[in-house]
């Protein structure tokens, strides 16, 4: 990732900067960083404007905001964190993907369980809830 930099420090006397630049390719440049910044800036402002818009339904707003957040997430991972721009065997990408799986199980699983509990017990009194949980949830 920062090899050109480290290379320059380690071997500045032996290797000309110009030559090492040809050997090593870096994912980050001023241009790609600025593109990422502008893209995220526009996406943030758009999301804010969507919320302020009158006449859009709550569900529609939430879906648009979620999509914009997802696009900005990908943009930041690519332009700022240089994900997917490393060479094989791409450890970082695989760690990232396994993290996504764990996060998905954690968040979706929690919401699912809690929603299910809510759905089953909403109409009950606290005493009935206690009895229900004893009977069905093994508590």
């Amino acid at each position: 990732m920062d090899i050109y930099f480290q290379h320059g420090i380690f071997d500045g006397s032996r290797v000309m900067e110009k030559e090492s630049k040809q050997v090593i390719k870096h994912p980050g440049t001023d241009a790609s960083l600025s593109v990422g910044f502008l893209l995220c800036f526009i996406l943030t402002i758009t999301a804010y404007c969507i919320v302020q818009t009158e006449g859009l339904g709550v569900t529609a707003k939430i879906i648009i905001i979620a999509c914009l957040a997802f696009v900005q997430f990908l943009a930041q991972m690519f332009f700022f964190l240089h994900l997917g721009r490393e060479k094989k065997p791409r450890w970082k990408l695989w760690m990232f993907l396994s993290m996504v799986v764990v996060v998905g199980i954690l968040v979706i699983g929690s919401l699912w369980i809690m929603h299910n509990l809510d759905y089953n017990m909403m109409h009950m009194t606290p005493e009935e809830q206690g009895a229900y949980m004893k009977k069905n949830e093994g508590i």
């Binding site: 930099f5 870096h26 960083l33 910044f37 804010y48 760690m95 990232f96 954690l106 809690m114």
Partner: protein, 200 residues
């Protein structure tokens, strides 16, 4: 010809070393993501439980939060520029961008603490309801990371001034940039799900 290929081999070795150096830190960031995901899950479950108190719509000011978001994004950009300048061997410019990054990050934190202070002064602290407990836990955990990041920047600026650009300071700067960009990624989700969806 042989000299060029030797250099290529050497460059590959150095590149592999630099990659290895950052992989451990990357693994830490991934586990930190899981920490934030569990706090997001807690917030998603509890945000409706206002215990008769005010909800997101009454409490959040989207304008102020938009300012926070843009400050943090600009700070992330400044951090990226600092790394690029350091890579080019321009120490003074790298320090300049780190100071900009610090100033923007500190403004973000000041706005956030102001928001918390206002909520608490109005009697809506984390003890008010399940929603507010989850909100404070999630947002303050992010704020705590930002605080640690600011200390990290201060230490790095001092090191760059005293020691200059060495392999060690260079490595720290690279790891810091990962940390700082990562915090901005987490903030997008807080901005979108907690604030924007809260007032939608």
């Amino acid at each position: 010809m042989t000299r060029v290929s030797e250099r290529a081999v050497e460059a590959t070795m150095l590149e592999e070393r630099a990659e290895r150096n950052s992989i451990g830190f990357w693994l830490y960031l991934m586990t930190d993501c899981i920490l934030f995901a569990s706090l997001f899950a807690v917030y998603a479950i509890l945000h409706v439980n206002t215990f008769g108190g005010p909800g997101p719509k009454e409490l959040f000011h989207p304008g102020g939060v938009l300012a926070e978001t843009l400050l943090l994004l600009a700070s992330s950009y400044a951090c990226g520029l600092a790394v690029l300048r350091a890579r080019a061997g321009e120490r003074a410019k790298a320090i300049f961008w780190l100071v900009v990054c610090f100033a923007l990050g500190a403004s973000f934190l000041t706005l956030e603490i102001g928001e918390f202070a206002e909520l608490i002064a109005e009697g809506n602290s984390f003890t008010r309801s399940g929603f507010l407990s989850a909100f404070f836990t999630l947002v303050a955990t992010h704020g705590m990371h930002i605080t640690i990041g600011l200390i990290w920047i201060a230490v790095m600026v001092a090191q760059l001034m005293l020691k200059g650009l060495t392999p060690h300071t260079a490595r720290r700067l690279t790891l810091f940039s990962l940390f700082w960009h990562f915090l901005d990624v987490v903030w997008i989700f807080i901005f979108s799900t907690v604030y924007l969806m809260g007032v939608a």
